[in-house]
Each structure stands twice: as structure tokens, then as C-alpha cells.
């Protein structure tokens, strides 16, 4: 039973090994020390609340109130206050749901899949991306829950036998969504929380040392008695890798099931076999778009350039480019097979998308999702942080329009021309969706104010001084 090990005597060719010099990018700039990293990240929480934070928080609360008002009005009046009308009985609610769920993919992708792929650059952005995931899932959940109309019956979604013998339709992917999203949300929270434990303990100790007993108590409560012992770290590492293993299929399954919401139907433009991987790629694409949108201002405001380096921005841009190109491949394949399949309804659905009443939406989608990321081929673009931020906004816009195009164009022009219609959102829908950006922002602002935005221990582990080989070539 051969078991490959290093041979005692090196072969001759190893004597010829003389690698060209091409240093890897550093993950923490300017050789920052461990204490600098701790001070920098804890300083965001420990320092006085900056004025900009309050301004942003007030504006975000105001914007969030639009969602609250929209939902209150909906519940008080009925779901008819949304702009749905035959044949488009499903529009902004599901568009917004898929949009937010898609954004919620990057966090767990960065934490789980990049962790399994041993991509060390993820350490600077994973905490904030995980937080973003949870907040995005919260925003996403609003829409299907309120679309049931009588919100007080939302619990019918769960398979709880009751006296009215209402059984859920387990053959519906919408029911699968309930389980997929709730499982994903739960595991994402767990993953995020487990990762936070060592950092919460750091904050507990620092507040204690600073004499702030109350905050020390609160952080200590949530730190679950973390002492940083070898045993704690060993259990932590094991839990983290297991959660990464569980989360990876979950990340893929959630958007796969979301894609099934459409693909299991017979509607032209929806029933296509590439939907599952195409939706997953799109979700990662939009998730990274949002990570860039959030992290670049955070980096500038808090002076985190040594922790979110140009290399991190490069990596995020390249993933956005790769997933955007995969999405472009899926668009092309859909269009091609719609023609190749020679089904007149399918062909019409795609021609209608590109040249029909909603052509404006289609071309916004193509411009934002296929053309925009191609700018990331250029180093000069990736090095221009302001431009990257603007392009990331385009990605977010494009991915919202992707869902709009898929859902609304197919429904508005279905099999029966006499029932064709043109969907326009009602002001209530617009306000409700607009407000979710406020809900998201409120939660994110609270996060950056009260929790460490980066995993300190993980960041320290990727510094040269943490390298057991002392940072030289031999690993």
C-alpha cells in the first residue's frame, strides 16, 4: 500500500529548480502588526460614534419606513394594492425576493467555498459579507411572506397539520423555497456567529480593561466563555470547517431551488434546463457586486486600505468578471436554444425580450451584466476604486433587471395574445422595495457600529509574521 511521502533522497531535477521571481501579493499591507490589526478593528467599535454614521442611520431609518408603511398599507388594504393584474400576477414581489436572495449568496460563498478552496484573501471581507447575507435574507423574506396576502396565515407555509386539513403542496418549488431559504438563513447565522466568537471575546476583554463593565458583560455573554485555549481553538476550527462543508451545498441549493420556481413551469422563457447553474452564477455575481458596493466605502471611511488591499479588490473584480461572463454564456445559450429548439412560443419569448415592449429592460440587463464586468479585464479599471464602485452599482442594477426581465416579460406575453398585458408597478410596490434598501442599510450600519467588521484572528493568521516558515519561500 503505497502512501506518497517526501522521498528521503531528492531527485536530480530538483537541483535544477530555480523559480522565476514573482512574489505573491501581501494580504495585509505595510507589515502591520497583530496589535495594529486589533486596535484598528476594535477602534471602529470603541471610538465615538461618528457624525456620518448618525446621518446615514437616520436616512436609512427614513428609507426603511417606506417598507414599513407599504407593508402596513398592504396588510390593511389587501394584496391588490400591488400592481399585479392578469396575466402578470407575480412581479415585483418575486423579482425583489430573488434579487435579495441572490445578494445573500456572496457571504456564505466567501466564507464556505473560498474557505474550502483555501483562498486566504477572503479573510478581509468574509465577516461583512456574511452579515450582508443575513440582512439580504431578511429583506428577501419580506416579499413572499407578505405576498400570501393574509399575513397571519403565513405559518401555513410550514407543514404543520391543523384542524382545517390544509396540507402544503410539496410538489411546488415555492414550498421547497421555504425550507431552502430558512435552512440557509439559519446556517448562515450560525456560521457568522461561530466566526464572531473569538472577536467578541477580544472586545469583552478590551471593554473590561477600559472599565466599561456593561459592554464587557454584553460581549462576554455572546462570547460564550471563550478563553482562547488550545481546546477552544481546536473545537472552533473543527466547527468552522464542518459548517463550511454544510454551507457549500446550501449556497448552491438555495438558488437552484429559486431557479426551479420558474424552470419547473411550462412558460416560455422559464422552462429551460440551464436555469440552476445559471441562477447560482448570477447570485454569486450579484453578491460580489454588493460586497464591492459596501466594502469600498467602508474601506475609505475607516482607512482600511492595509486590510482590504488592491489585491482583494482585484480578486473580487475577477470573480465578478468570471461570474458575469458565465451569466453571459447562459443568456446566449438560452437565446440560441430558443431558436434551435424551433418552438415558436419559446422563440417569441426571447425575441420579445430583446425587441418587445420590455426591450429597454432587457438591454439594461445585458449592458449591466455582460458588458459592465468586461471592464474588469483591465488593470487600470481595477486600480481605480471609484470606478470599480460605480461598476459594482451597475452590477446590482443589472441583476435586479435580470429577474425583472425573466419574470415579467414571460408573463406579460404568454400563450394567449388576447390576455397580453403590460405590467407597471404600483407606487406601493415601488415604496416597499425602495424601503428594503433602508432596512438593509439600518442593519448593516448597526453591524459595523457594534460588531467587528473583520475577523481579527483570521486576518492575523495571513500576515507574514504568522507564517511558521518565517515568510520565506519554503512552505
Amino acid at each position: 500500500m503505497a502512501h506518497v511521502e517526501h522521498a528521503a533522497s531528492a531527485p536530480a531535477i530538483l537541483q535544477e529548480v530555480k523559480p522565476a521571481v514573482l512574489p505573491r501579493a501581501v494580504l495585509v499591507g505595510h507589515g502591520r502588526s497583530f496589535s495594529w490589526i486589533t486596535d484598528k478593528i476594535c477602534g471602529i467599535i470603541e471610538g465615538k460614534t461618528p457624525a456620518w454614521w448618525w446621518w446615514c442611520f437616520i436616512v436609512a431609518c427614513f428609507v426603511a419606513s417606506f417598507t414599513v408603511a407599504g407593508l402596513v398599507y398592504l396588510v390593511a388594504t389587501g394584496v391588490g394594492v400591488w400592481g399585479h393584474a392578469n396575466p402578470v400576477n407575480w412581479a415585483w414581489d418575486i423579482v425583489n425576493f430573488v434579487f435579495w436572495i441572490g445578494i445573500g449568496h456572496a457571504g456564505t460563498l466567501i466564507s464556505a467555498i473560498l474557505c474550502l478552496l483555501r483562498q486566504k484573501w477572503r479573510t478581509s471581507i468574509n465577516r461583512a459579507a456574511e452579515a450582508m447575507t443575513i440582512f439580504a435574507v431578511v429583506c428577501a423574506a419580506i416579499f413572499p411572506v407578505f405576498h400570501v396576502g393574509r399575513i397571519w396565515y403565513a405559518w401555513y407555509l410550514f407543514p404543520i397539520p391543523n384542524s382545517n386539513i390544509i396540507w402544503q403542496n410539496f410538489r411546488s418549488p415555492l414550498e421547497w423555497d421555504v425550507f431552502a431559504v430558512s435552512t440557509y438563513g439559519t446556517v448562515s447565522v450560525l456560521f457568522w456567529y461561530v466566526g464572531l466568537l473569538p472577536d467578541l471575546a477580544v472586545l469583552r476583554d478590551r471593554f473590561y480593561a477600559a472599565g466599561n463593565k456593561f459592554r464587557s458583560f454584553l460581549y462576554g455573554l455572546f462570547a460564550l466563555g471563550w478563553r482562547g485555549s488550545n481546546r477552544h481553538w481546536s473545537n472552533y476550527e473543527m466547527a468552522y470547517i464542518i459548517l463550511a462543508g454544510i454551507s457549500t451545498p446550501l449556497v448552491l441549493s438555495v438558488h437552484t431551488i429559486v431557479s426551479f420556481d420558474f424552470a419547473v413551469s411550462l412558460l416560455p422563457g422559464w422552462h429551460t434546463t440551464i436555469f440552476p447553474p445559471y441562477f447560482v452564477a448570477g447570485a454569486i455575481f450579484s453578491g460580489f457586486g454588493m460586497v464591492l458596493t459596501l466594502m469600498l466605502p467602508l474601506r475609505a471611511v475607516y482607512g482600511l486600505e492595509d486590510l482590504i488591499t488592491q489585491y482583494h479588490i482585484d480578486c473580487m473584480c475577477k470573480i465578478t468578471l468570471a461570474t458575469g461572463t458565465i451569466v453571459g454564456y447562459a443568456y446566449s445559450m438560452e437565446f440560441f436554444i430558443a431558436w434551435y429548439g424551433a418552438n415558436p412560443y419559446e422563440g417569441f419569448a426571447f425575441i420579445n425580450r430583446a425587441f418587445g415592449h420590455y426591450a429597454w429592460a432587457y438591454w439594461i440587463m445585458i449592458t449591466c451584466n455582460v458588458i459592465t464586468p468586461q471592464f474588469f479585464w483591465f488593470k487600470s479599471v481595477r486600480n481605480n476604486t471609484a470606478l470599480v464602485w460605480v461598476l459594482s452599482i451597475f452590477v446590482n442594477v443589472g441583476m435586479w433587471f435580470e429577474r425583472f426581465v425573466i419574470i415579467v416579460t414571460s408573463l406579460a406575453r404568454d400563450f394567449l395574445p388576447s390576455s397580453w398585458g403590460y405590467y407597471s408597478p404600483s407606487i406601493v410596490e415601488i415604496f416597499t422595495f425602495f424601503g428594503t434598501f433602508g432596512v438593509f442599510s439600518v442593519l448593516f450600519l448597526l453591524f459595523i457600529r457594534f460588531l467587528p467588521v473583520m475577523p481579527m484572528a483570521e486576518l492575523k493568521a495571513v500576515t507574514p509574521q504568522a507564517d511558521v516558515h518565517g515568510g520565506h519561500d519554503h512552505h
Partner: protein
């Protein structure tokens, strides 16, 4: 200098052993191709032989494409651990030239006897069930701008031009770096990878559509290119493991390869096992669930005959379901099964075999009897599949072994070579 002199006899012996193995591979290839040719010329079912040959060429081309993709991905992500294996992929992709040569008989046959392999190439080909001919088929008429002999030929030449061109350029730059150690070669290959990845993705998609999917030209699935991609990479990874074990056994890789290389590549085999299952399940599930006849007929052909009786392909489908996914999935969950030679070798051989069954499942049911039912899986065609796979595989192995001694075993001046040699978790 003196060390080199001392190693010279050993190197010469290794080179001689490689040449001898190459000759044996060529002989196997010639024998396989010869037998296939005999079957095609003298056998009772020439159509079956040619379709079996298509299985062979598709199978090996898929694996070569997978190797090319692995090189491209290696360069684009600036990978480190795979640097010690990359040179073997560069050798293996030299088989594209010979795969092109071996594809020519099919291309020539397509021109000489249109419709013999791909029915849509001849508008006079009758449709099953007496529904006229291909030329009168409205579904064909709609697709004729794409499905025509000229486009097929041009596209196939284009696919091979892309694959041959990329594989030569990638190897050239990689070998050049061995001499001068210039990092410009790393950047050259990185740029090539950036251009090559979309080109390879598109070419493999359309190759799968033209060569395999269009055998049933009524059928369509947007997932098909992704399915083919999954098999390409999975097959390439499996062959890579075999090459690694072979070079270890010969002694070349001793002191170079460590347990972590096998673990990493084993993890990729595992990941692509899941990915293949995900893609294949999604395609099957969405078609089964929608239950639209224009899509389900492709699976029906592989499940039941016209009289409603289950045919052999249904059982082949089950073998694929369990063999392609469950068996390798459960087996490769274990760390030991990925790194111990005697344990990893059987599973990659199994995967290679089951990919072949999958390719058969996609191609051979296009052979039909008078009722329009697919001919059984267990037939003389399996013999021709075996001779074709051995023949084309022998030539591919020869092409690899022919290229093997022309360069250093590993890219000795690659910037990431030390990281790769010391690869650890």
C-alpha cells in the same frame, strides 16, 4: 556537471522505457483502429461501428479538452499546487493534433455519405414513423441555417484549430520558461488563458451540440454544454491521477509529489462528481417534471420501447445514476481513499469507465430499429466501442509519451514551482 553525468545513464534508461511504452501504446492504438476499420468495412452493421467510433473520439476529445481547461484554469487563477502536474497536461493536450486526424474519417464520411451518422445532413433521410423526410421536416427547416454540412465542417475545423492552437502555445511558453526563467512567459500564458477559457467553453459547447446532441436533432437542452464540460474535467482529473501514480511508480515523481497533491486532486474529482450529478439531475428533473413530449422523447428512447416495455438503456441509466454519482461520491468522502495509491486508482478507473458509459448513453441510442426503438446496449457495438476507445486511446497515449521526454518533468522555473513542491494543507 558531475551530478548530471552520474544521472545520465538513469535518464537514458528512463527515456528508453518511455519510448518503449510509447511504441506499445501506438501498437495498441493501431490494433484498435485496425479492428474498428475491419468492422466498418466488413462488419454486418457498419452504422453501429461508425457510431461506436464516434463514442471513442468524443470520449478522448472530452478528456483532452478537460486537460486543456485544467491548464487554462491553472494559469488564470495563478495556482500553485498544480504546477508539478501541469507539464503532464501540456504533454497530454498534444494529442489534439492526432484527435483531429482521427476525426477526419467521420468528416470525410459526412461528405461522402451525408446522413449516415448525423441524419440531418441528408434531406432525403426518412423520418421514423413515415413522417416524411428530413428535408420536409419543419423542425429541421427551422434549424437548417445551423445544422448543415458546411457549418458542421467549418465549426469542427474551428474547434480543433482552437484546441490545437491553444495547447501548442501554452506548452511553448511553459517550456520556454524552463530555459530563461523569464516571468513574461507566465504572463503570456495568463493572457492566453483569459482568451482561451471563453473560446474553449464555447467550442466544447458547440462540439457537444454538433457531434452528440444533433444525433437527435429534434431534441434540445440548454444544459448540454455544461454536462459535457463536467465530463471533460472529470475525465481529465481522473487521467491526471493515473499519470501521477504511473510517474510515481516509475520513480520520476518520487521526491516531487506528496500526499497533499493527491488529496487536492482527489478533492477536485469529488467536487466534479457532485457538479456532474447536479447538472445531470437538473437536466433530467426539469424535463421529467415538465413532461413535454418534444423534450421527454430523448429520455423515453432511453427507457422504453414503442410497445411500452423497458429497454436496456433504462438499466444503463440506473448504472449511470449510481455509478457516476453515488459510488464515487461515497467512496471519495474518505481522505484515505483520495491519497492511498491502491485506493484512489480503482475509483478513477471506475470514473473513466462510467464516463464512457455516459457517452455511450448519449450517442448509441441514436441507432434505431424499424420501430424507432433504440438498439440494445448489449450488442456487437460494445466490441466496436472497445476497439475504438482502445485505438484512439492508444494514439492519445502515444502522443503524450512522444511529447513526454522532450521537456523537463516539471516546469523548473515556474514562479510557483517551489510552492507546488512543498504543497501542504
Amino acid at each position: 556537471m558531475s551530478a548530471q553525468a552520474a544521472n545520465a545513464p538513469a535518464a537514458l534508461a528512463t527515456e528508453s522505457a518511455t519510448a518503449s511504452t510509447a511504441t506499445k501504446a501506438l501498437l495498441v492504438g493501431a490494433a484498435g483502429l485496425g479492428l474498428t476499420a475491419v468492422g466498418a468495412l466488413l462488419g454486418p452493421d457498419k452504422h453501429g461501428v461508425v457510431m461506436s467510433y464516434l463514442v471513442g473520439i468524443t470520449y478522448w476529445t472530452a478528456i483532452a479538452i478537460g486537460m486543456l481547461l485544467l491548464i487554462l484554469i491553472h494559469h488564470i487563477v495563478d495556482a500553485s499546487w498544480s504546477a508539478v502536474i501541469r507539464r503532464q497536461w501540456e504533454h497530454a493536450t498534444q494529442a489534439f493534433t492526432w484527435l483531429f486526424v482521427l476525426f477526419l474519417p467521420l468528416l470525410i464520411l459526412a461528405w461522402v455519405k451525408p446522413g449516415f451518422i448525423w441524419p440531418w445532413m441528408n434531406e432525403a433521410t426518412p423520418l421514423h414513423g413515415g413522417h416524411g423526410t428530413v428535408g420536409t421536416d419543419v423542425l429541421y427547416q427551422k434549424k437548417s441555417g445551423f445544422l448543415n454540412l458546411g457549418m458542421f465542417t467549418g465549426m469542427t475545423l474551428g474547434f480543433f484549430a482552437i484546441w490545437i492552437g491553444l495547447s501548442h502555445l501554452l506548452k511553448k511558453a511553459s517550456v520556454a520558461q524552463d530555459s530563461d526563467g523569464d516571468t513574461k512567459w507566465t504572463f503570456t500564458n495568463r493572457k492566453l488563458a483569459a482568451i482561451g477559457l471563453p473560446l474553449t467553453a464555447l467550442s466544447l459547447t458547440f462540439a457537444a451540440i454538433y457531434w452528440v446532441k444533433s444525433l437527435e436533432y429534434h431534441w434540445f437542452s440548454t444544459m448540454y454544454g455544461v454536462w459535457f464540460f463536467a465530463n471533460c474535467v472529470r475525465g481529465a482529473l481522473s487521467i491526471s491521477v493515473l499519470i501521477m501514480l504511473w510517474l510515481w511508480t516509475r520513480g520520476d515523481y518520487k521526491g516531487i509529489l506528496n500526499t497533499n497533491h493527491l488529496h487536492s486532486i482527489g478533492q477536485l474529482v469529488f467536487a466534479f462528481t457532485v457538479f456532474w450529478a447536479y447538472v445531470t439531475f437538473s437536466q433530467y428533473f426539469l424535463i421529467w417534471n415538465a413532461n413535454v413530449p418534444e423534450e421527454t422523447f430523448w429520455y423515453n428512447l432511453r427507457e422504453v420501447n414503442h410497445d411500452g416495455h423497458t429497454n436496456q438503456w433504462w438499466y444503463v441509466g440506473l448504472v449511470i445514476l449510481f455509478g457516476h454519482f453515488f459510488v464515487p461520491f461515497l467512496y471519495l468522502l474518505s481522505y484515505r481513499h483520495k491519497v492511498i495509491h491502491s485506493k484512489v486508482k480503482p475509483i478513477v478507473l471506475w470514473i473513466l469507465a462510467i464516463i464512457l458509459v455516459d457517452v455511450c448513453y448519449n450517442i448509441l441510442p441514436a441507432l434505431k430499429d424499424g420501430h424507432g426503438d433504440s438498439l440494445p446496449f448489449f450488442s456487437l457495438n460494445l466490441l466496436w466501442v472497445a476497439t475504438s476507445v482502445a485505438g484512439i486511446g492508444g494514439v492519445c497515449a502515444w502522443a503524450y509519451l512522444r511529447s513526454f521526454p522532450t521537456t523537463k518533468l516539471i516546469p523548473i522555473r515556474d514562479p510557483r514551482i517551489v510552492e507546488s513542491l512543498t504543497h501542504h494543507e
